[in-house]
């Protein structure tokens, strides 16, 4: 009896959760002509997805936005991984004095709400001519990615036997050489994990994009998407949905392939 009730409730929930996904897909595929008169629940008769996306692409200037976001989401995590790895290496392998305090300082950067950062960043960026420029966004995306990168890399390096470091020193390798020839290659999986988590965070970011950019070519995609919604007077919803579907594909593919990773990243309090 109890089991039947549980399953019935689950089935209802399952349908409720699927309904918006279904509505999203069928209406993103619907051509604008058809959207004007057909029921939103009916499957589309004509394939309009591509035309819808092209329409969104033009009205929100998505081209520059897509290029910029790809740049931010790849370059910033890549720098953050190396910077975080350097810090972890200094603390664990090079035995940085007061290493734990330095670590707490770096990781502590992750507890500030973004709301506490955006005002000075906005004003400072305006003064330094970084506002609405790509390097400015790369810089802040890198900085917010560093605490998690340092955390994961430090933990990872703790698992590498110190005798490896000593052996390399005996062989006359410099600290820098040991880092990029031994420690960094050993940590490929940790690097990939950081990269995936931060890529997703940056790709989905709205607030930094809203506050630190404005032009079509610099602002990140989610900011462009939200402007598309407020421009909605001139665009029908099927077009906005098509844009949203396209812009969600990269993170959706990444997430569905690496679910466990996200659960772990989230439990570090970093993503979301």
């Amino acid at each position: 009896m109890g089991r039947v009730v549980t399953r019935a409730i689950f089935a209802v929930l399952w349908l409720i959760w699927l309904a918006p996904v279904y509505l999203l897909v069928v209406n993103a595929f619907r051509s604008t002509d058809e959207y004007a008169h057909a029921s939103i629940w009916s499957p589309p008769h004509h394939f309009g997805l591509w035309a819808n996306f092209v329409a969104a692409y033009h009205s929100a200037g998505l081209g520059g936005s897509l290029y910029s976001t790809a740049l931010y989401a790849v370059v910033a995590p890549a720098i953050a991984v190396v910077v975080g790895a350097l810090a972890g290496y200094a603390i664990i392998a090079l035995r940085l004095r007061h290493g734990f305090a330095w670590f707490v300082l770096v990781f502590g950067g992750s507890i500030f709400p973004i709301q506490m950062l955006v005002i000075p960043l906005f004003v400072g960026y305006a003064h330094l001519d970084l506002y609405d420029h790509r390097p400015g966004l790369i810089l802040i995306y890198t900085a917010v990615s560093v605490p998690l990168a340092a955390f994961i890399m430090r933990n990872f390096f703790t698992g590498i036997s110190y005798s490896i470091y000593e052996a390399a020193v005996m062989d006359g390798a410099s600290s820098w050489r040991i880092f990029y020839r031994i420690y960094l290659p050993l940590a490929t999986t940790a690097c990939a994990a950081i990269f995936i988590l931060e890529f997703t965070f940056i790709w989905n970011d709205l607030l930094f994009g809203l506050t630190l950019s404005q032009s079509d070519s610099v602002r990140p995609v989610m900011t462009a998407l939200s402007s598309l919604l407020s421009l909605y007077a001139g665009t029908t919803y099927n077009i906005v949905l098509a844009a949203m579907l396209f812009l969600s594909l990269p993170t959706m593919a990444l997430f569905l392939c690496t679910q466990r990773l996200f659960a772990r990243g989230l439990s570090l309090g970093q993503i979301g």
Partner: protein
């Protein structure tokens, strides 16, 4: 000068003496400096500067004028305080209740099911969608005469002919539901990891004693999941206090200011009204509330854990 810290292993203890007296090495700090500079320059410094600005009157153009507690007094006297704080608290309560509760439910039902992956898929897909994306999908579902209105009218439920984003507190509740649609999947995933780490022995023993279904869950699984539940609830509290994306894209805090959360009020005061001092004050209030909530929550968790331990 160099101390051997506990937990660094015997290798170090054996190796140190052979190296002779430790030399002063600037290099380790050099390796750590990019991380330190980035974090201090772009996270700590703005944080401190925002805290300072919260005591000033500042329009972003002229230099900030020190006004003491004026912003705080103004904010606490302002009628908007009650609206934005109670909306934010609704978000916190709703996020603990819905995404966390349903996440546990989905994890428990699909755990060990042969079709587990397929059953979880509709819950996992929305998590990969950004806050702005969720707002777009739900803006479509919620639009006047849209999908949800149709369904409600068809089922003869209230709200079938009303605009669901037009009035407080319904608009906040509806947006919490939209956000739940996104959040359940990842909570289910976290609980699933927790369920898989529960040892088989106590479950088996309870089954032999005749426990099953609800009783098995209530007296065995749930207590064993407690540490993980603490993490999930803590994350939900902190994240929901900062709710911004969905609200900003769906209603911009409106109509009027009826659906504002603290994060939206902060953004609006700063970047729409150009009152940077007031915006900073709201950011500080938000941070303080988040800090207090985290500390209270951690303390509660620690003290209740002590009584459960045996």
């Amino acid at each position: 000068m160099t101390t051997v810290q506990a937990g660094r292993g015997p290798i170090l203890a054996a190796a140190r003496p052979s190296q002779g007296a430790p030399r002063w090495r600037p290099q380790p700090l050099l390796f750590a400096s990019p991380a330190v500079l980035l974090v201090v320059g772009l996270l700590y410094a703005p944080f401190v500067w925002t805290a300072y600005l919260s005591f000033t009157s500042y329009d972003g153009l002229n230099p900030p004028q020190w006004t003491g507690l004026a912003n705080y007094i103004g904010f606490f006297r302002d009628g908007i305080l009650w609206v934005t704080v109670s909306n934010t608290l609704m978000w916190v309560a709703g996020t603990i209740l819905l995404p966390v509760g349903l996440g546990l439910f989905v994890a428990t039902v699909t755990y060990r099911s042969r079709w587990g992956t397929l059953l979880r898929l509709p819950f996992l897909i929305p998590y990969a969608v950004s806050g702005a994306g969720v707002a777009v999908v739900w803006g479509f579902v919620l639009q006047p005469h849209g999908a949800l209105n149709e369904v409600l009218a068809f089922l003869h439920l209230p709200g079938g002919h009303a605009s669901l984003l037009a009035n407080r507190p319904v608009n906040t509740v509806v947006m919490i539901v939209a956000s739940t649609w996104q959040q359940v999947g990842v909570n289910a995933l976290l609980f699933l990891v927790g369920l898989q780490s529960i040892p088989e022995a106590p479950l088996e023993a309870a089954r032999l004693d005749g426990a099953d279904g609800w009783r098995l869950f209530r007296y065995i699984t749930w207590p064993l999941l407690r540490p993980l539940t603490a993490v999930v609830v803590g994350l939900a509290i902190v994240a929901s206090l900062k709710t911004f994306d969905v609200v900003w894209v769906l209603t911009q805090g409106g109509p009027g200011r009826s659906s504002e959360t603290l994060a939206v009020t902060m953004y609006r005061d700063t970047f729409v009204a150009n009152e940077y001092g007031t915006g900073s004050t709201v950011a500080v209030v938000l941070t303080v509330i988040a800090g207090i909530a985290s500390v209270l929550y951690l303390r509660g968790q620690l003290s209740s854990r002590r009584t459960v331990e045996w």
